[in-house]
């Protein structure tokens, strides 16, 4: 498996604010990555750094083996779709789709035409007159039809309705199967894209707090539910990710259990449940559980 992106000790400060804090990770070829985190966590800044749009304060970035900053050979393989993309004054979708092939050598006009029909993009309407969802659809279509070896989607589907989002997921997976490439997707809708992602990177306050295969991550935590006494006895000194007290019962999310531990838990009359990616990310990026634990 080759590496497409290699980041080491990456830091980006805006004045006193640290948007990205000593981040190190790598991105493998032909994989779909989820870059997850809360608003202001540093997702967009991270993507701008990887695409040479922002200049790093410290650390190194290697994309296709080279620094992406002002590097035409590297940037020529990148497509970056931003939620808040600015368009040239008076542009219409038809102008975007007419010019995109000049910049993306893998551009598939037929695929783009199909997507335009599916997303019902009004080609001749001015960009500033498009709805939030139609605007997002234009970006999504460019991101898919460009087939850039490294494609960034930053919150690509704000305002897209459920049907349009499903079309996006379906087309992305279909096209990815035929034309493998590396996709880095940032989103708040974690559960929706959960099945799409091969790998998850969670960023919180500019720091990488999770960098894991999606499958590993999905099995990495368990929720145990039962009477408070039984739960507390079982949990003991284990690290608690989250604690709920639904109607006299206790529900606690803890790290992954092995087979023996699961047997013990079941024998103690506890219920074991899976934790979704979204719950996991929410729990890892909200107020540290230790503080809650100390209070309860």
């Amino acid at each position: 498996m080759t590496t497409v992106v290699e980041v080491a000790g990456l830091t980006k400060r805006f004045g006193k604010f640290t948007a990205v804090d000593d981040a190190s990770f790598s991105v493998k070829e032909n994989t779909i990555y989820g870059l997850l985190g809360r608003n202001g966590a540093g997702k967009t800044t991270m993507m701008q750094l990887l695409t040479g749009q922002q200049f790093a304060t410290a650390g190194s970035i290697r994309v296709f083996g080279e620094s992406p900053v002002e590097n035409a050979a590297v940037l020529g393989k990148i497509c970056f779709i931003k939620e808040s993309q600015a368009y040239p004054e008076e542009f219409k979708p038809k102008h975007v789709f007419a010019s995109a092939p000049w910049f993306f050598e893998n551009w598939d006009a037929e695929f783009a035409r199909r997507l335009i029909a599916e997303f019902r993009v009004p080609l001749g309407r001015r960009m500033k007159k498009l709805s939030r969802g139609q605007l997002s659809a234009v970006g999504v279509i460019v991101g898919l039809a460009s087939r850039a070896p490294l494609t960034f989607f930053d919150e690509p589907y704000l305002g897209l309705d459920a049907v349009a989002r499903q079309i996006f997921y379906d087309r992305l997976l279909e096209d990815f199967a035929e034309h493998p490439r590396t996709v880095i997707l940032s989103t708040h809708l974690i559960d929706e894209v959960s099945a799409l992602l091969d790998h998850v990177i969670v960023i919180n306050d500019g720091r990488i707090i999770i960098d894991e295969e999606a499958d590993t991550l999905r099995g990495s935590a368990t929720t145990i539910t039962g009477t408070k006494t039984a739960v507390d006895r079982f949990v003991g000194q284990r690290a608690v990710l989250h604690r709920d007290v639904p109607g006299g019962l206790s529900s606690v999310t803890i790290e992954k259990l092995d087979a023996d531990e699961r047997r013990v838990a079941l024998a103690a009359g506890l219920e074991l449940g899976p934790v979704s990616l979204q719950q996991l990310v929410v729990r890892k990026t909200s107020i540290p559980e230790t503080e809650f634990g100390a209070q309860s």
Binding site: T2, F55, G65, E70, N71, L75, G76, K77, P88, S99
Partner: protein, 258 residues
């Protein structure tokens, strides 16, 4: 770490012109906005001017040689519209198309060079249109009524090439000044632009003070007279070039914000 299988193209040097031209084409993809609309507006202004000239001439005794000799239909500055329009195109090209192009994987360098080429092509195109109209204006004796719109300066000068060079230089000047100002805005936002205008104002006031207090205005007059219209026009290429080069270095470190 694993070796990279992605061999970067060995032909990257030959790729550069293609990428730069793609940016140039991008500026012209909305042909209506950049070419058709300004010419429609210019044409409309022209037709309205023409109508007013005819009304004046007809109401003062018709286009007889005597009447034309007495009625001076002065230059109205009607073409200045297209110069302002061109400047706005340059400002928007930098402030709006720049962040858009970066999303398409364009480097700042290629964006700037492609944009500069687009500005040059646009200046050339507009200058050709105005020159052709000025030649027609002179050949028809001011559209039959002694009207002036396209050949305002040195109406009697038969050398269309002189007017062409002056028009071209004027467009280049405005486009690249607009380009540099927009680059400053993209890089430093309103603060930077304000600081820039303050500096320009200080320099201008300083220059006025210098020439006035030292009673040196005659030097300026002498210089203008000695340089002649073509000389003065060609001197504008200096600030144009400075703006063009400055814009490049300013944009080179700019980051797109929305």
């Amino acid at each position: 770490m694993t070796a990279l299988s992605f061999a970067l193209p060995a032909t990257r040097r030959r790729e550069a012109p293609r990428r730069i031209l793609a940016v140039t084409r991008l500026h012209f993809v909305n042909k209506f906005q950049i070419l058709v609309l300004p010419l429609i507006i210019l044409g409309t202004i022209f037709v309205l001017n023409l109508a007013i000239w005819y009304i004046i001439i007809e109401s003062t005794g018709g286009p007889t040689p005597q009447n034309l000799a007495h009625t001076h239909l002065g230059y109205s500055g009607a073409v200045s519209y297209i110069f302002v329009y061109a400047m706005v195109i340059a400002i928007q090209a930098i402030s709006r198309t720049f962040p858009f192009s970066l999303g398409f994987g364009v480097t700042r360098r290629d964006f700037y060079l492609g944009s500069a080429l687009a500005f040059f092509v646009l200046s050339l195109g507009f200058a050709v249109v105005l020159t052709i109209m000025s030649v027609l204006e002179i050949a028809t004796g001011g559209w039959g009524v002694g009207g002036r719109m396209f050949a305002p300066v040195y109406f009697t000068n038969p050398f269309w090439l002189l007017r062409f060079v002056m028009y071209l230089c004027a467009f280049l000047f405005l486009l690249f000044i607009g380009c540099a100002a927009a680059a400053m805005f993209v890089r430093w936002r309103a603060t930077g632009l304000t600081a820039f205008f303050v500096i320009i104002a200080v320099v201008l006031v300083g220059a006025i003070a210098y020439f006035t207090l030292d009673h040196q205005w005659s030097v300026v007059g002498t210089w203008l007279a000695a340089s002649g219209p073509l000389g003065v026009t060609l001197w504008t290429l200096v600030p144009t070039a400075v703006a063009g080069v400055a814009g490049f270095f300013i944009l080179r470190r700019a980051t797109p914000r929305n």
